[in-house]
Symmetry: C2
Subunit: 710 residues, 2 copies
Amino acid sequence: MHWPKNMILRQSLQILWRTPLHEVLLWRSRWAEGRRRCYSTALSERLRERFAFKKATHSIAQLYLDPEISTELRLASLPVEQKVVVLHGWIDSAPRKLSKRLTFATLRGAQFDFVTSNGSSAVGLNGDSSEDLAGKNTIQLVQMHPENIKEDDYHSLRRMKQETPVCVEGTVGIHKGTDGRYEITIVKITALNDTMNFASQVRETKQWDPKDRYLQLRTPALQRALALRSRVASLVRTEFSELGFTEIETPLLFRSTPEGAREFLVPSRTNAGKMYALPQSPQQYKQLLMAGGVHRYYQIAKCFRDEDLRADRQPEFTQVDLEMAFSSAADVQAVVERVLTRVWRDVRGVHLEMPFKRLRYADAMSLYGIDKPDLRGGLELIDLSAFATSTRHSNYPVFEILKYRPSGPSDAPTLAGAPDGYPTLRSPLMYKIDLAKEPAEAWLKAAASEFKLKFHSGTSDVGAVAAVIMQAYNIQDGDILFACTRQQVPFENPTPLGRQRLHLLHGKVKSDEIAPLWVVDFPLFTPVERQEVVDGHIEFDYDSLMSTHHPFTMPVLSDESLGAVLDVASSAPDTHTQLDACTVLGQHYDIVINGVELGGGSARIHDSMLQRLILAEIMKVRGVLRDPEAEQPENPFTHLLTALSMGCPPHAGLAVGFDRLCAMLYGSESIRDVVAFPKTQSGADPLVGSPSEVRADVLLSYHMQLADKK
Amino acid sequence: MHWPKNMILRQSLQILWRTPLHEVLLWRSRWAEGRRRCYSTALSERLRERFAFKKATHSIAQLYLDPEISTELRLASLPVEQKVVVLHGWIDSAPRKLSKRLTFATLRGAQFDFVTSNGSSAVGLNGDSSEDLAGKNTIQLVQMHPENIKEDDYHSLRRMKQETPVCVEGTVGIHKGTDGRYEITIVKITALNDTMNFASQVRETKQWDPKDRYLQLRTPALQRALALRSRVASLVRTEFSELGFTEIETPLLFRSTPEGAREFLVPSRTNAGKMYALPQSPQQYKQLLMAGGVHRYYQIAKCFRDEDLRADRQPEFTQVDLEMAFSSAADVQAVVERVLTRVWRDVRGVHLEMPFKRLRYADAMSLYGIDKPDLRGGLELIDLSAFATSTRHSNYPVFEILKYRPSGPSDAPTLAGAPDGYPTLRSPLMYKIDLAKEPAEAWLKAAASEFKLKFHSGTSDVGAVAAVIMQAYNIQDGDILFACTRQQVPFENPTPLGRQRLHLLHGKVKSDEIAPLWVVDFPLFTPVERQEVVDGHIEFDYDSLMSTHHPFTMPVLSDESLGAVLDVASSAPDTHTQLDACTVLGQHYDIVINGVELGGGSARIHDSMLQRLILAEIMKVRGVLRDPEAEQPENPFTHLLTALSMGCPPHAGLAVGFDRLCAMLYGSESIRDVVAFPKTQSGADPLVGSPSEVRADVLLSYHMQLADKK
């Protein structure tokens, strides 16, 4: 596996072992005179070649930009004899022996010129396919060999494997039969390292072993992904600094939080028995910065979540985090729109219309059956509450339908499957309108029995109702209807029709269109979901509420929201008033693009009494009491409540998933493509072998030991 | 502690408790009509004021830039009646009652305008003192009160405490008796939150309780520190991107490394019994990026070190990390010089001469007795090996002196104390040349007996030798000499004379001068330090060597260095050759400014066989064998060695301590001033209370438990 098959090593060791000790000692004594053993000499000569190499004069792209070269070549399309260039890179395609004395090969440049010296996007960031890029960054090498090459001639192109990193000195000529592409006639080529046998990365398309991540990174596709991510970060920062934001790093060694079921713990050696926790977001520290008089804060922050990695998640991820003092939700949204608009313009050349669309949570759920709708492709749901109510399940009264008109006979939609973890969840009723076979109202009859519909008109003449509906919503012969029920304000998300809509639209929306959207007025609280699913319906415990996002979100300033919260939170302990999760709205907002939730934020509670009431009386956080005078030592929010009471200004903020943002700009479904060293589904990094076992005695120095198996 | 002393809360609860339950229920039933209890009403009214406030029209600095205002005021120095401005900020000085109807106070603006919209440094970054800043960001408020103010008039300036965040609407006028400074005549002022009693931050200069960090952050000094750090980061990134670097994030959930005695461990829930480790630097990942074909990588990276926090260290710190493929040490140094030169120019207006000075480690030690010399202030040490050798301790033969000429009779230098942890370490011999009292050679006689000097000339005529030395080095009557001994190549660092020099220079160097320096050619290996100190000399075990920096550093390409390493590493297992730690040099370089080591880097070993030989045969890392075919599963470097053998190009890199860099640019001794939320010496954050205890059942979910007390 090592360089020339350890030949030299073996040889020399034999020599060494054949050598009597006194001679070895003699050699050692000759050190000072600089005499070396044959072994070290051979080895060090080879190594010196690898470490003392010429500086590159050009990247491949720079060759084409060099006027000296292009002029010469225009005059005579011969190699530019008088100018020897030095290139760095890898042998990209296996060298081809053309004659006894002639070898060709392709060199892949050491540097993809994605970004020009002034930082603006050049080759590759917009548009170019990986193949284009590969082309742009390769050049043909030609080597004329001497009369006969020794078998061990290390510096013959002919002997070099693919992916050998080389330093090439040569002259530039026109590659015959190409549209003016260059080729290099080798004067000297030096192998700068060994390489094992594997196909060139550039044309490699296999499934990659995570262990080979660094090889995969050599592919133009991932080189482009890395360059794009770097460029996006730079654009985001430029925009923020132009908007007067201060970039501030907040600690990663944070403290364990009550809701931190999914946090990583970090035992401290110097504080026996105590732990830090890695933050799931800089939320608390950035609110402390607001109390600290910081006007506009941002950070591209590392965050951590120790959860079983469903879907496309990573245990460590990056978010663009911002917070603004003396500001409202609208102020934050305006900033985020500017940043996203700039990024899409500069990276993708796409213009986003400002201000972005806004949709209330309730409307998103009733029109699209999901809180992060993809606005492209239409297919809005139809709420039929005006006509009938479902009595099948008291909490799921709303009767709604989705009308689908097939594009042709071949277009036969299917029912959406149940989502992961909810195999028993109900599917919509699917009904094809076929007037030749049955009366128009057949579908409604079917729905009526399926969902135990109660018609408001009280009429039993379903036909009449069906007629009105079909006319109102232009339902025609051949249309396919999907019917189902939902909660008044759905906490089941997506709803069955929401799932069905996604299923119908899957793969049908133009991908180049970008449809940004703010979803606002979320319920401040969400009823806790019960374990059981009864007759396909998810059961909720409307008496025990949790924060829909986090307990620092400010309620909407209406009687129904702020008023109701205060009413309940401040009522005497013995009066069992109850909060209506559906009517209480929070000043939370999500930024959604093409059905992907890129981020979310809120106006925060900066009044310590209100925050205290919510934590103590509604969230029922252990250790938090309504009365500030009766402060408990175990209150995990003392620092925040105190900070709020020290003249903390009003503030609002947001966090955008940076990995997700880059993946979207890169045009990939998976964030793994825009993360240099992603973890696997199990949270492992097979490349370096993390996480790994640690010796018990080491653990002990952290005052820890593995739990006894029970 | 809460707003108006919970008066309203108490009142309303009394009301509530006096109320029969059926009435409460009645109220509840009236929700829909929007009727509220007196309690909630009072509360929600107050809260609405706090959350629904006007947008600011100006920052204080912007007032002076507004032509509309300045013109109006020039015409008639009356308040600009027709223009009402809205300002955000804090009540900075306690309101002063001037008459029954007139109140004055100072408003501190919500925003220090350090940075203009185009990101260039405006107020504050260069020069301005905190007082200047405080002045620039405050303005006088004037309120005319109505006939009589109610005691609980919440909106009277007179009632407001310092540090109350407010929204002020008012008209602009000239503050009489000032050089044209403005004042605001209040139309309406709204308190946006409560505040407890404490003096204004701007004039506050007490020792800060870490718990009050966010209050300290409000001071102009720290506001400036935060702005400066943000600006430096932005400059560094701009320069790197102009140089074609790609910013790449490397994982923070890394694996435990053999030398990781000081790392933080992170138990994984999803991988029972296994741990991640937080990286002490991105070293391995960035070398993998080089194997991954990344041309130029940089990152402003979070790193972690779980050590007892000596001096000015933090358990989590930030470093500017870079690595360059197909590059040499010189290439890296050129880049770093450009970055630092730009930062000092743009932030401090200081011009640094490129290229920076270079000093070999051996020369730094013999001229200054330390490997991070402060070049300002001279006082070079004098090596007297040419004349005499000390025989007092075989490993400390070099006899050297430091000549100090007092500036006057009052200038009486003292001996430097012993360094922390080395109380028994020897001090230099201090001798004042006093020709009136004794012969010129007296000092040498004293030194001769103290250090058991052996004179090369073999002469016993010490006087003659002394005469030669004193003439050669211009030693005169009244000079003070410090004499001591050191190792040939000192691993004791600083040496006694090095410490003495620092002691003499302390506080004497002009602080505005910036003297950058590259220290190069470090010993690749350092002999392990023995525990005992014999007769004031640190004892070393020259048979057991450790990497001076890290095992990935490339030796210098000379016979004495590379040759010697290969010679030893590759010699047959049974031959006990030994490496001379003093003669083997590594391609490591430190960037030192004014005696502060800002960072260090090296050309790396990219040849897997050489890396393997050094790890296996010299470092003796458990699990690493010389023969790649005999790879061990427990080899912690398999991934790196494999990556190197896959066509990894030559590479070199460096890391600069970002906190230290910012502290230096800010002009502070301590990095705590440029870290938003620093940890204490014990590694704790008293503000949020980290680290903290975690319940045993929670630990159990991580498969961990506290170690049984032994």
